[in-house]
């Protein structure tokens, strides 16, 4: 039986198309994907992301534990956050996640809903030897995201916190819409915006307050379908599509979240170090479609007769009015400007490797 978020009735009342996703009944779209997408690009949208998983890490060895488990460096200041991958010993990716440093000895890991059980088991299996406590707060923590160039104007009405003082990937624990919240300037859209974490019973209060505060800006509820086109348009990888156990952060161009410049040991360090030096056999690239047709997840890529890659995400980029995709291509074929062909339903469609992000006008600070 799929779970419902505390905002489920709100989605029903808004007439959302609701589908099962990662064990939750989630709003896929309320209106059209294009309208929701453009609302976030041009003004502001509100998302229920309660399906995301939250693990709280506390104790003396919190930093050492996360440094072992995650590829990125946990030594950020309290009040800051970092993006990281979590790898298997073979360098494949368990998940990608955001970690908020709450205090000296306290962190909050936010993981993908679809990976929650796997991640929890992985985290649990590495506790030995660390003076650390990890609690799974996923079933009591709601997440409401407010994203778009008007997001700060909406949020400023609902909190006394000086939002200008919260930079990108920073956060503050304070009242929001009158309830205890973690207010973070993070997101997955390429726009400025905030992610507000709160306890389940407070979610409706926050949602209603955000909708009311956003009225003057035409705030729009945004479902998971537009969340996917928004992230693709700025080239953010999606676990399960673009990254998974069979890909490494080096291949996925996520080398910037692998702390090879530190001397900290972490799972998969040696293999990733070696791959960085020797260069991986393939790279994740962004591609624009030149011809008609849409390459999708699984579409093969060719250079002449030779298969040189595969598409991992493909869809329309609504703000650009054309199809874009992410995919892996063999080393040697990844250069920007390089032209390849995607084979879509038996036909070859010309595509061109381009710079990520595809969309560069975002308000992200």
């Amino acid at each position: 039986m799929d779970k419902r978020t505390p905002l489920y009735e709100k989605h029903v009342a808004l007439g959302a198309t609701i589908q099962s996703f990662a064990g939750y009944m989630m709003p896929i779209k309320y209106d059209t994907i294009q309208k929701e997408h453009m609302a976030v690009r041009e003004s502001v949208g509100v998302f229920d992301l309660t399906h995301m998983g939250e693990f709280r890490v506390t104790g003396k060895d919190s930093m050492a534990f996360l440094d072992k488990l995650l590829t990125n460096d946990a030594s950020v200041d309290a009040g800051k956050a970092y993006y990281s991958t979590m790898c298997y010993p073979d360098g494949g990716i368990v998940d990608d996640l955001i970690v908020y440093r709450i205090g000296d000895q306290e962190y909050l890991m936010v993981v993908n809903a679809a990976n929650l059980d796997k991640d929890w088991a992985w985290v649990q299996s590495h506790l030995q030897g660390f003076d650390v406590k990890v609690e799974n707060e996923s079933d009591e923590t709601a997440l409401v995201a407010i994203q778009g160039p008007r997001a700060q104007q909406v949020c400023a009405k609902l909190t006394d916190v000086d939002l200008d003082g919260i930079g990108y990937y920073e956060h503050s624990t304070d009242k929001f819409a009158g309830v205890d919240s973690l207010i973070a300037r993070t997101g997955y859209t390429g726009e400025d915006g905030f992610e507000i974490y709160m306890k389940y019973p407070d979610a409706e209060t926050v949602w209603d307050a955000v909708v009311k505060a956003g009225e003057e800006f035409g705030i729009t509820a945004v479902g998971l379908a537009a969340r996917d086109t928004l992230r693709l348009e700025v080239g953010y990888p999606l676990y399960g599509n673009d990254i998974d156990h069979s890909t490494t952060p080096i291949e996925a161009k996520l080398g910037w979240v692998v702390k090879l410049k530190t001397d900290k040991p972490f799972i998969a360090r040696e293999i990733l170090e070696q791959q960085k030096v020797e260069k991986p056999g393939r790279y994740l690239v962004g591609m624009k479609v030149i011809g008609k047709g849409f390459p999708r997840h699984g579409t093969p890529l060719f250079s002449g007769d030779r298969k040189v890659g595969i598409v991992t995400s493909g869809s329309i980029a609504p703000a650009l009015g054309q199809a874009v995709c992410l995919g892996y291509v063999e080393r040697g074929f990844q250069k920007r400007g390089n032209e390849l062909e995607a084979e879509v339903r038996g036909k070859r469609i010309p595509i061109k490797i381009v710079k990520i992000p595809f969309y560069t006008e975002g308000s992200r600070k």
């Binding site: 294009q34 379908a225 008609k292 047709g293 849409f294 999708r296 869809s315 329309i316 879509v344 339903r345």
Partner: protein
């Protein structure tokens, strides 16, 4: 419930077909456009191309899915809906009129009578 007008015939691959003078106009059914979601690109056949019943004549791309569409009759492509080039959403908004896909000059008009009736199509899609 889908809109299934009685004045057109249907295929199992979710095209509707309307007799219009000496041609047959073809589009995507309301049921199919609803299933596909927002259509963002239509790839149409060339006018003058040969159409063979059951062959793919073009493709439709929605945000999440893609589908080919098929010739319901043998003949020759007599016209295509150029409007879809700039406004493919017409297929969602007005599937039985403004969102038509293409027209065929049939080589044997009697094939039309073998297509599904509204009642049969309704059963086909389980409504």
């Amino acid at each position: 419930m889908s809109n299934i007008p009685e004045n057109v015939r249907y295929t199992e691959t979710h095209e509707w077909v309307r007799k219009d003078g000496d041609k047959f106009v073809i589009g995507l059914t309301d049921h199919a456009q609803h299933e596909m979601g927002e259509i963002v690109m239509a790839e149409l056949p060339e006018v003058g191309a040969e159409a063979t019943k059951g062959d793919a004549m073009g493709g439709l791309e929605a945000v999440k899915t893609a589908e080919d569409f098929y010739a319901p009759l043998d003949g020759e492509i007599a016209a295509v809906n150029e409007e879809l080039e700039s406004n493919p959403a017409l297929i969602n908004e007005d599937p039985f009129a403004g969102g038509w896909l293409f027209a065929i000059k049939a080589s044997d008009d009697s094939q039309f009578d073998g297509l599904l009736t509204a009642e049969e199509y309704k059963t086909h899609i389980g409504e």
